[in-house]
């Protein structure tokens, strides 16, 4: 029997799924990185929320694991134009982490191990829109995909879903992150194709 080609890995999504403008579908999970991959052990890992009054709320790994986890299935949209549908995650909702945090902040600056930062409105971290994700596809999140834990905020371009997350600063004024300070859009809505400043 002739070898049947698995065929063209199409640029059209499966029926019923929508791609944001300018995107194409992938079936693998591309690894993008702006630097060497940090390897942070569970023992070393810590996540800190810092408010505009410098109040700090810190969770270590055991404390994060003790919080109720959710299992979102979401589509990912990278600004480099690939999209991946139906990814399965497990993580703690930012609603849970922010529940007892008093703040008047409107903005958040996310910090990662390795020095990466990204900014977004605080409102985009709330109402079931964002998680500190620690498992992907039923397994511990691999370092190249941001493990031990990454921010997952899938309604914005994936550069906002900071890998190797270690903290979030809550701010009264918006402050650009690593890519937002170098031409990329401050908000990054894939459905409005907000890739670059001015889009």
């Amino acid at each position: 029997m002739a070898i049947i080609s698995r065929g063209f890995h199409g640029r059209r999504p499966a029926p019923g799924r929508n791609l944001p403008p300018g995107q194409y579908e992938v079936h693998d999970f591309p690894v993008l990185s702006a630097g060497p991959t940090p390897h942070v052990t569970h023992d070393e890992w810590e996540f800190t929320l810092t408010t505009e009054t410098s109040a700090r709320h810190t969770w270590d790994w055991a404390e994060l694991m003790a919080l109720p986890a959710e299992t979102p299935t979401v589509d990912l949209h990278c600004v480099t134009k690939w999209s991946k549908f139906g990814t399965h995650w497990e993580g703690v909702s930012l609603d849970t982490l922010l529940a007892d945090v008093e703040t008047a902040a409107d903005f958040a600056l996310v910090h990662s191990y390795g020095g990466y930062t990204t900014n977004l409105p605080l409102a985009d971290l709330l109402d079931g829109q964002a998680w500190i994700a620690h498992r992907y596809d039923g397994e511990e999140l691999a370092p190249e995909h941001g493990g031990p834990a990454r921010l997952l905020v899938p309604h914005l371009y994936l550069w906002k879903s900071a890998k190797w997350v270690r903290g979030i600063e809550l701010l009264l004024d918006d402050e650009p992150g690593f890519w937002e300070g170098l031409g990329y859009h401050s908000y990054g809505d894939p459905w409005r194709e907000q890739r670059y400043q001015g889009d």
Binding site: P30, V31, L32, S33, A34, G35, P36, T37, P38, H39, V40, T41, E44, V79, T80, Y113, G114, G115, P143, E144, W159, R166, W179, G181, L182, G183, Y184, R195, Y196
Partner: protein, 104 residues
């Protein structure tokens, strides 16, 4: 090659395939500058190490090019190419010595 680094923020494992050498910058920078900057000698604003830009580690599987110091891994140069604008960040380069060839 030393492929592991420990810093105050944890241990980093360097995947050799994760970055390219600084010659990768040649094409994108030639769109902006008239001279070949990969031969320019830069000084890292972080650790003070000097060397040609071609020696930098360039992470290009990212929304832009991120060139890091091979000695301390700090960002020396970043370049984002939009549809009609290029954004260049040289905050991490304390200086650049640019060879201009012989005088005529």
């Amino acid at each position: 090659m030393d492929t592991d680094r420990t810093s105050a923020q944890g241990t980093y494992e360097e995947y050799e395939t994760a970055y390219e050498d600084g010659n990768t910058l040649g094409g994108p920078l030639s769109e902006i500058f008239a001279v070949d900057l990969t031969a320019a000698v830069g000084r890292c604003a972080g650790c003070g190490a000097t060397g040609p830009l071609a020696r930098l580690r360039v992470y290009d599987r990212a929304p832009g090019l991120v060139a890091r110091c091979p000695d301390c891994s700090r960002v020396v140069l970043r370049l984002v190419r939009g549809p009609d604008t290029a954004w260049l960040d040289l905050q991490g380069a304390a200086s650049l010595a640019i060879p201009l060839g012989g005088r005529g």
